[in-house]
Amino acid sequence: MDTNHVIEVKHLAKRFGTFEAVKDVSFTVNKGDVFGFLGPNGAGKSTTMRCILSLITPDAGEISLFGKSMQTHRNEILRHVGCIIEKPDFYKYLSAERNLELFARISGANSTKKDIQEILDFVGLGSRGKHKVKGFSHGMKQRLGIAQALIHQPDLIVLDEPTTGLDPQGIIEVRNLILRLKEEQNKTIILSSHQLAEIELIANRMVIINQGRTSIEGDVQQLLNSEELVVRIETTASATNQAVTCCLANFPHASPHTVAPNTIEIEIKKDEIPKLSKLLVENNIPLVALEPKRKLEDFFIKTVMA
């Protein structure tokens, strides 16, 4: 398992009857990546994820994990993969510990009670191990889902919409867990989510797929920094016109425009933000807030619309 490419998907295609769910998807996930897998609804994300996990068989293309073909080395590969597909399901009549014990055994791991307790502690369910899953909240099940994905110490973790249905607190908890997995255990993680801010915060590489095809793939920061970003300037209502004039004079390409009586937006490069900030202060424009709008959201919409 010493290949640098953990996942290689080449020209994947999958059809359901007459519907082409995936037409031509290709991407590569490297060792240690937290890889964002993005696309609008119906883009083919879940189908691709299911193909990667061999839940469905692709009609065309190649999937290899750890340098081995999924078609010929399925069981060997899956020993090194942990996953959550949308919502994790458990044996509700069994305790969290017992569920993990079953999943560990079927994954070929010889997990001891101590290992199970450590995983439960890691996901914040240390005190709930003996409780039956039927009494767990959605957030707790999601955390237990992450625990079952980790119980056999996999090298690759596939998380398909792991924050679906979670409240903001739950989303933060799952995000922190993923960050800890990356930082403490250096796991390779592929993560699909509608929470673009999450991907922006967590992922180092990403792919956007649209209408069953790969639209763009690359390093998250490089992709985002290559684009101009929208900066929101909040001032007082009386100073708004002065701010627009000032921006027009110094950033004529940036098309500053008023979006609210006290707010304007301007499209500039990231490295121009300090200059903008200094300019506004020097011109005595009262500055209430100056913040870049969510970059990935804009980038995603631009890519998908293109």
Partner: protein
């Protein structure tokens, strides 16, 4: 991996309250029958033997542990398929309903191995139920009524078996009874692969047994050709061990028919489960 998953399947079976329903029901029913036979067994048995009393004289402990065990098995073996189907009919469909089947499918185990594990665990549960019924009935009856020669009334008349000639017949009979019950378990697991809920396969299994039993009972010529091939026709073949001489050829034929059914049900289950959409 298949044995590891079979062990998992057994843990799941043991954790479900419904698995103990059958054991509890059998224990209570055995207790009720023993109580009834203890209270009024002699008059019940003399009602049967009275027709022979003009030509035969019955001496000694006629209402003994062997006879009561035989009566219990005759009465209860008809109901055990329901108790078996209650557990085995849920093995695949229960997981489909809970969504855990999707979790299993992402593990390093093939779908065929998953189904094989379910058959192994279902077989183990069926074996346990059969042994429980046999051992509890025989053990308690020996304690309460003591041993003695077994008088069996069958279609050829009265068969009297020596006390020391009975135990092996019970053992062999329970083996064939297990095979019959495992056929029922296989049918319900097979039906379970087509369903998304537990009730459907359980009801369908009982409906199939009922239908085949009715076909087997009806004295209609058109059904005569299929009757020997219905598994329900052979479900009571364990009783053949209590005939004298034992019709081994008939028993062998019953075993073959039951085994063919089991193989067919397993094959259909494998095909069905390998094609089943478990992604959603």
């Amino acid at each position: 991996m298949i044995w590891k998953n079979s062990y998992n399947e057994l843990i799941k079976i043991l954790a479900k309250p419904r698995s103990y329903l059958g054991v509890g029901a059998l224990t209570i029913l055995v207790a009720i029958i023993i109580f009834a036979m203890k209270a009024d067994g002699k008059s019940i048995v003399s009602f049967v033997t009275s027709t022979f009393e003009q030509s035969l004289s019955f001496n000694g402990n006629v209402v003994n542990g062997n006879l009561i065990t035989f009566i219990i098995l005759q009465m209860l073996i008809v109901h055990v398929p329901l108790l078996v189907a209650l557990v085995t009919g849920d093995l695949v469909s229960g997981e489909a309903a809970m969504g855990t089947i999707r979790m299993l499918a992402t593990r390093p185990i093939s779908r065929s191995q998953i189904i094989a594990s379910k058959f192994i665990a279902g077989g183990a549960y069926t074996l346990f139920i059969t042994l429980w019924l046999g051992c509890v009935s025989w053990g308690v009856c020996q304690l309460v009524f003591g041993s003695g020669d077994l008088i069996v009334l069958n279609s050829d008349g009265l068969v009297i078996l020596k006390a020391q000639d009975v135990l092996w017949r019970f053992e062999a009979g329970m083996c064939v009874a297990f095979l019959s019950l495992f056929t029922v378990a296989s049918l319900s697991i097979c039906l379970s692969t087509f369903a998304e809920n537990s009730i459907g396969p359980i009801v369908a299994t009982m409906a199939t047994i009922l239908l085949f039993t009715i076909i087997g009972t009806l004295d209609v010529t058109v059904f005569d050709t299929i009757k020997p091939y219905l598994f329900t026709t052979h479900m009571a073949s364990w009783r053949s061990f209590f005939e004298d001489p034992v019709p081994f050829e008939d028993i062998k034929q019953s075993i073959v028919v039951l085994l063919i059914h089991i193989v067919v049900f397993i094959t259909v289950s494998l095909i069905s489960f390998n094609k089943k959409d478990i992604t959603s």
